[in-house]
């Protein structure tokens, strides 16, 4: 029987030390640690996320509950109540995600800063990463916009979809499957090209922050005031590994509801499982979310990078195959 852990004792220690440093970091900044439920009555509508459901037995009734895919909605309800800046270290669950960088149950560090715009939050994320990677001496952090990055690497305009240009690029770059898979779906093209051609090269021994994502790719971020085609969204990469995602948070309840409804409709078309959209989040936004930015970082991947581990299993006590 493979009863033993998939990681070494040293990795258990590294995890414990890392958690300690993170808690210290936020304690010094007076950011409050919180806990929110893993079992939820509503769930994110993102068509690309599959969730776990479970039955809550309350005879004679029973209710379907979801295991959270992220603590975002609950944390925003705390923010709307006046909690001030908060952080959480918790498990999140995403069904069907297994691979070198994925385990269906994983640990997130998520924090929200009241009164911060995205660039201030990026500064803070940079400080935290520098603290945690103190011994690996990372190169200077890079900040680049999604549009510039796309333009430099592929010559394509990420904000304006031209099937002809995208297909020509795929043909000339040996991405023979892109045309058949992506068809006329702009977002799918962006995901395909970014994950195949761009991401693997991001942040060689450095933190790379990509910001200004196209509006079509960010369902919870605020649109940029000067350019509505992009949003206040940032992604963090080190050595080609996606480490985190942050937003200048959307606080407009009507706009949020519109985006949820759009995603629910897309899920119907794709025949994905039905979701229950989070009315309590919408009510909280209606009541008023303070101006804030928030970011989530995958702690298991962070540990992979800190320990030069090739697979996520090497940093988990018991990965899904041994759970």
């Amino acid at each position: 029987m493979d009863w033993q852990p998939s990681c070494s004792i040293e990795l258990l220690q590294l995890r414990a030390q890392t958690l300690q440093k993170i808690r210290q970091f936020f304690a010094e900044r007076a950011v409050l640690e919180v806990e929110t439920p893993l079992l939820c009555s509503a769930i994110g509508t993102d068509p690309n996320l599959d969730f776990f459901t479970t039955n809550y037995q309350l005879p004679p009734k029973q209710q379907t509950l979801f295991l959270q895919t992220s603590p975002e909605f609950a944390m925003k309800r705390l923010l709307a109540t006046g909690s001030g800046s908060i952080y959480q270290i918790c498990k999140a669950f995403r069904n069907g995600e297994t691979g070198r960088f994925h385990n269906p149950e994983f640990t997130l560090l998520e924090w929200y800063r009241v009164g911060f715009n995205l660039s201030q939050l990026m500064d803070e994320a940079d400080e935290l990463i520098a603290l945690l990677f103190a011994r690996s001496s990372l190169q200077t952090t890079q900040r680049v916009s999604y549009q510039n990055l796309f333009q430099q690497t592929t010559g394509l305009n990420a904000l304006v979809f031209s099937y002809q240009d995208y297909a020509d690029y795929a043909r000339s770059s040996g991405l023979i499957d892109a045309i058949a898979i992506c068809k006329h779906d702009h977002v799918l093209w962006l995901d395909f090209i970014f994950s195949h051609q761009i991401q693997p090269h991001l942040g060689q021994n450095a933190l790379c922050m990509v910001h200004g994502y196209p509006a079509c790719m960010s369902s919870l971020a605020r649109n940029n005031q000067d350019n509505p085609a992009i949003t206040g969204r940032v992604e963090l990469f080190i050595n080609g590994v996606e480490l985190g995602n942050g937003y200048y948070e959307l606080s407009d309840a009507k706009e949020q509801k519109r985006r949820f409804d759009k995603e629910v409709a897309v899920r119907k078309v794709l025949q994905r499982p039905d979701v229950v959209k989070d009315e309590r989040l919408l009510a909280a936004l209606e009541a008023g979310l303070p101006d804030c930015s928030g970011i989530a970082i995958g702690l298991d991947r962070l540990l992979m990078l800190l320990s030069n581990s090739a697979t996520i299993d090497e940093v988990l006590a018991f990965s899904i195959s041994r759970a």
């Binding site: 069907g96 691979g99 994950s195 991401q199 960010s218």
Partner: protein, 188 residues
């Protein structure tokens, strides 16, 4: 034949791709936090031996390929075909030079090898990792040299040419690693 979904793609799985039998070498699950999941697959075309990279949307599937590796005895070549036999059933198979390919230079009558069958017809031939063959042609070496530094070419009874140490002579039997084509030792 069974159908396999991307989540079942594992090294060694044999599937049909573009009407050719292929073996999966590596499957990487690629999924942005917000975005579409893909499977990036390294796959070997078993007909041509070429390794290519392909991408599938998560959840797509491929039909399995009826491909098996079978240990067989190499019987003889008749100029057009090479003949092989399953030692347990005495069933015989023939394969042309195109299928046998590079394996030909390591095949000695009666030796065992692996024949890959697709729909019960030979698709590829793999020699044993180590074979023992006789040197039929090589320059006379310098007496007393046992260092092996440098070496010299030697032609073997199957037609293969390998580099051997200077002290090895015509008529001797040597052990060769067929995966690298390197001389291992003399066989006494």
């Amino acid at each position: 034949m069974a159908v396999y979904s991307t989540s079942e793609f594992k090294a060694g799985l044999k599937v049909m791709l573009d009407n050719d039998p292929c073996a999966i070498i590596e499957n990487e699950f690629v999924k942005p936090g917000k975005g579409q999941a893909f499977s990036r697959v390294k796959i070997r075309n078993l007909k041509t031996g070429r390794v290519i990279e392909r991408t599938f949307k998560s959840g797509e599937s491929l039909e399995g390929a009826d491909v098996m590796d079978v240990d067989m005895q190499y019987l003889y070549g008749d100029g057009e075909y090479r003949h092989f036999m399953k030692p347990d059933t005495f069933e015989q198979y023939q394969a042309d030079e195109k299928i046998v390919g590079d394996a030909a230079k390591w095949l000695k009558d009666q030796d065992s090898c692996t024949v890959t069958l697709w729909n019960d017809a030979p698709l590829a031939v793999t020699p044993a990792n180590f074979v023992e063959l006789t040197i039929v042609e090589t320059d006379p070496g310098v007496r007393g040299d046992t260092s092996g530094g440098g070496g010299k070419p030697a032609k073997l009874d199957t037609g293969a040419v390998v580099r051997v140490p200077l002290f090895v002579q015509i008529g001797e039997v040597i052990k060769v690693d067929t995966r690298t084509g390197e001389y291992i030792s003399r066989v006494k």
